[in-house]
Symmetry: C2
Subunit: 237 residues, 2 copies
């Protein structure tokens, strides 16, 4: 937690005084080992970044006076569409994408996604929110990504993706692609990452028919949780 | 498991017939759902890649006739030195580095590494081997990385790193570095990644005094397991 993410409801009505309990209090006590008078890096969800000066700190509650000054860091101009990974990996992909600055995340079904993944508690609103917040806290960002779910592949690719990808460079990660993933992209992009085991030929062909260019990131087949940071880093970092 | 990694001891004496039980047999039965007569992608640890034709397959044992023809994929010309991460993250870092083609991995102590991490079962020879093999199986590689442990920071940086880094471009990942990590490196490199929470100033200074150039991968502070694929991808992919 390199930044403590605050929400409007953390603030005492109409003041700059925030009051924390639970996980964030625990972290300040056990990891930061902070004391009254210390300054902590904070940010307001959807807003600016600044400092919180601890006024009161006990095992039950933390109160701090918050001053917000700096803007949040620049975002990555990318929409990241990932075939729904298994629950443990989903968590890591969400926090990783959130930390790296992705603001639009789409999770979609595909032939090699196990149907049971869609019933996982990791897909609940709260569980997704938690991983996104962990990513923001890690990377000192405040802008919560938007996550959307698409449980049918064909309608997603045919009816949704064309609008989403309009005006962007559209890529689909594919180990067998002839073209290498370009580096140092300056324009907005849409990046589609398939499931463990890859897309089936019908799926790749449908994506290509919608204007998505298959690109590889080397000949090695990477796990989804490795492919996501590898592609994003190559393209934008 | 995109490739089944075979070891010399899997082969029936002096023949091309390999006999598998345990985890690999389980995988062929439950995930590949293969049958006698099917071909599976295999590789010999430290050797070539080819096909194994299943001769016999039961719940107890798999036998296949192995033909090895292709060379293993190119390696990344990098020595990756990582401050020892907590055990769960160590596993992911090892399998990720192994999958991405790193062949020399150094784990070292630093001020923000918890001492208890050095007593974790994840550091046993067997546990490290397991993660490296998972990475090779994922990326269809056969060359097992070499992993070395250094429990003292100063002797590691002063006495070991200079020899290890000689003739390579030497970088240390550091979010506060002014210089950005270069892309598309063609020469051998040595890349040092610090612990969660970063290096303390003394450590960065000591690395700089040994010729390591601090480089950032953007302003965002990434977790070690994200920083490793992000740096490797930016530098070499």
């Amino acid at each position: 937690m390199n930044l403590i993410l605050l929400f409007k409801e953390d603030f005492v009505n109409g003041t700059g005084r925030a009051r924390l309990q639970g996980r964030r209090l625990e972290h300040v006590l056990r990891v930061h080992r902070a004391r009254a008078g210390d300054d902590l890096k904070v940010g307001l969800c959807g807003g600016k970044i600044g400092r919180g000066r601890i006024i009161l700190l006990s095992e039950q509650c933390l109160e701090m006076d918050v001053a917000l000054e700096e803007p949040a860091p620049p975002i990555l101009p990318v929409t990241l569409a990932v075939a729904l990974p298994r629950p443990a990996m989903l968590k890591r992909v969400l926090s990783c994408a959130s930390a790296m600055g992705v603001k639009k995340i789409l999770l979609f079904h595909s032939s090699r996604v196990e149907k049971s993944f869609w019933r996982s508690p990791a897909l609940s609103r709260g569980a997704i929110h938690e991983q996104l917040v962990l990513g923001l806290e890690q990377a000192c960002d405040t802008a919560l990504p938007d996550v959307r779910l698409f449980t049918l592949f064909k309608p997603f690719v045919e009816d949704e993706l064309p609008t989403i990808a309009r005006g962007t460079r559209a890529f689909v990660g594919h180990p067998e692609a002839r073209e290498a993933c370009p580096g140092d992209i300056k324009e907005p992009a849409t990046l589609v990452i398939g499931p463990e085991g890859g897309f089936v030929p019908f799926e790749i062909n449908l994506l290509v028919s919608q204007g998505f260019v298959p690109v590889n990131i080397g000949k090695r087949i990477l796990r989804v949780e490795t492919a996501v940071p590898a592609f994003l880093s190559k393209m934008f970092y």
